[in-house]
């Protein structure tokens, strides 16, 4: 549905993205994930029409959109902040786009009240954005974007400025609305947990390039590069001979007393993290983090000799 073909956008500083190829199917929620400066927002803004492409094409439903200004594109965007017009009431914020499309007054009112109910903000129509919390403002911003009935909904770190608890709530609600209405979504975030929780597919980016693309399970269990392995979740990296690096997740490390497993070491720390215990072990190849149960934690103490067995693991070669 949304196709990005060999798209390049470079800034004067040399940053930007080169030869990006990406397809988002109808009804899919795809997340562009990466640290600041990796190019994820650049891609989103070129789709939205706020940046011109230097090369390549962007197509929605087969039609190229790169020559269209933002107001003519079948997309709508939710920014991280400063979405709502502060001098207009919530109702006027929502009505703005509908009025431009010459939708009659009664129909406008009907759609708006339906949408307000969907984002659980009924009754707030007469408020000004300044009278609402950050989370409430973002809900209205999402409502406004949905009212425009876009073919692709673009979200640029919409929850990054919110409290952790609200963020989680908004994530769930967005996912529910998206799946119920079968909306095509391009989502940008630097929070890998958010990406894993929300997405049908994750696109991990690094310095203007796509490192890996796949389902959250794919990305998590089969990271194809050291960068992706490091970026997603927690990972142990053990330096091996011949420039090889062994990567294994803490939950795939089995700890037993004594020796004879894949790697021997000494217990370094044991930390209680709520619903699991984190143990770090000193080995010849580096410090290994493992997750153990309460009972296991009772049987170990600092300095104990232990042996580690690795379950699922990856191997990378350093260039």
């Amino acid at each position: 549905m949304l196709e990005i073909i060999n798209m390049t956008k470079l800034y004067k500083t040399g940053d930007g993205v080169k030869d990006i190829n990406l397809t988002i199917r109808e009804g899919e929620l795809v997340t562009l994930l990466g640290p600041s400066g990796c190019g994820k927002t650049t891609i989103l803004r070129t789709i939205g029409g706020f940046l011109n492409v230097d090369g390549g094409d962007i197509r929605i439903a087969g039609q190229s959109i790169i020559h269209l200004p933002p107001e003519k594109r079948p997309t709508s965007m939710v920014f991280q902040a400063y979405n709502l017009w502060p001098h207009m009431r919530v109702f006027d914020n929502l009505e703005f786009g509908l009025k431009l499309r010459k939708i009659p007054r009664a129909e406008r009112a009907r759609r708006i009240s339906e949408m307000m109910a969907l984002v659980k903000m009924s009754g707030m129509e007469k408020k000004y954005p300044g009278q609402m919390s950050g989370g409430q403002q973002q809900r209205i911003a999402i409502a406004r974007a949905l009212l425009l009935e876009p073919q692709v909904l673009l979200l640029d770190e919409p929850f990054s400025a919110l409290d952790a608890k609200i963020r989680q709530q908004m994530r769930e609600e967005l996912r529910k609305i998206q799946t119920d209405l079968n909306i095509t979504v391009a989502f940008v975030t630097h929070d890998q947990e958010e990406a894993m929780a929300l997405s049908d597919r994750v696109v991990v980016m690094n310095k203007g390039n796509i490192e890996q693309e796949g389902s959250p399970q794919d990305i998590y269990h089969r990271p194809q590069s050291r960068y992706v392995a490091d970026f997603i979740g927690e990972m142990n990296f053990l330096q091996m001979p011949d420039k090889k690096v062994l990567a294994v997740r803490p939950e795939h490390v089995e700890v037993s007393p004594g020796s004879g497993g894949d790697l021997d070491g000494y217990v370094r720390t044991i930390m209680m993290l709520g619903h699991y215990i984190e143990m770090t072990v000193d080995t010849d190849h580096g410090i290994v983090k493992a997750f153990i149960s309460d009972e296991q934690a009772q049987s170990f103490g600092r300095g104990d000799a232990v042996t580690l067995r690795f379950g699922r693991k990856q191997e990378y070669t350093t260039p």
Partner: protein
């Protein structure tokens, strides 16, 4: 035991001394600041006054009557407002788009344009007026409405570029992008989103421009006399030719519009918006 009972009154006296001292300084400052104004106010309503007496002998509206009977008075008042309205309005139309361009677009020579503009206002105005006068003589603008208007616009344009550019810069880009996203073209976005959000800064700029134009004197004197007279240029004549009481009346006439403007601004734009406007620069 007796010590704790004695201490409170001692403290009260000490505090009293400090407060009395502070009040005295405040009083002296107020006298220095408002004294001349107050004196002028009294003088304006003094029917007869003989220096060096402090208070007038008789109070009344005699000098108000006198001033308004002068043929030039009403003309000069009208002209002052005419030039203020025209120069502010014209500057608004010309400078607001320019301010927006300076705030939002990165074009070659942008820094140069801003610098040149600032430079024009950094020089002593007399120099500017003299060179303008020379050109006006050649072009035939001396003593014309357009000539005086251009003089007034020197000041108003500065106000209508500098503050509004700051106000536009402080409008978050996402607000404009969201409007485009919702289907509004660039012009509609400007009028429906950018301008309303930047309004506090622009309102303050309008106020400064208008009041500045009312206070424009030297340039108008140079270019306008004798065909075009404003209240400020009339003032010179009044001070020279008439007694202090007439001067006081005229000065009050000058202050009243500024005062009314500030009150109107405060009522329709609000103290909070104005504060925001000053912050925006």
């Amino acid at each position: 035991m007796s010590q704790t009972v004695v201490r409170p009154p001692q403290i009260r006296r000490a505090l009293g001394k400090k407060r009395a001292g502070g009040l005295a300084i405040l009083f002296a400052f107020m006298l220095f600041f408002y004294g001349p104004l107050l004196y002028m106010f009294i003088l304006a309503f003094a029917n007869s006054y003989n220096f060096p007496a402090i208070m007038p002998n008789e109070f009344g509206f005699m000098w108000w009557d006198y001033v308004f009977k002068q043929p030039n008075t009403l003309v000069s008042i009208t002209n002052s407002f005419l030039f203020a309205v025209c120069s502010t309005a014209l500057s608004f139309v010309i400078c607001i788009p320019a301010a927006y361009a300076l705030a939002r677009f990165q074009f070659t020579g942008r820094k140069l344009v801003m610098f040149l503009f600032l430079l024009g206002n950094a020089f002593p105005k007399i120099g500017m007026y003299t060179s303008m006068g020379i050109i006006f003589y050649k072009v035939g603008l001396m003593g014309t409405f357009m000539g005086v208007l251009l003089i007034h616009m020197l000041g108003t344009m500065m106000q209508m570029i500098w503050l509004p550019a700051g106000a536009f810069r402080s409008v978050p880009r996402h607000l404009e992008e969201a409007a485009r996203d919702a289907g509004a073209g660039p012009l509609r976005t400007f009028f429906k989103v950018t301008l309303p959000v930047a309004w506090p800064g622009i309102a303050v700029a309008l106020l400064y421009a208008f009041i500045g134009s009312l206070g424009e004197s030297v340039g108008t004197l140079f270019v306008g006399l004798p065909q075009w007279r404003t209240m400020m240029t009339e003032m010179y004549g009044v001070i020279l030719d008439f007694p202090a009481t007439a001067g006081a009346v005229f000065a009050l006439l000058l202050i009243i519009p500024n005062f009314v403007l500030l009150l109107l601004m405060r009522k329709y734009i609000g103290a909070e918006t104005m504060a925001k406007g000053f912050k925006m620069s």
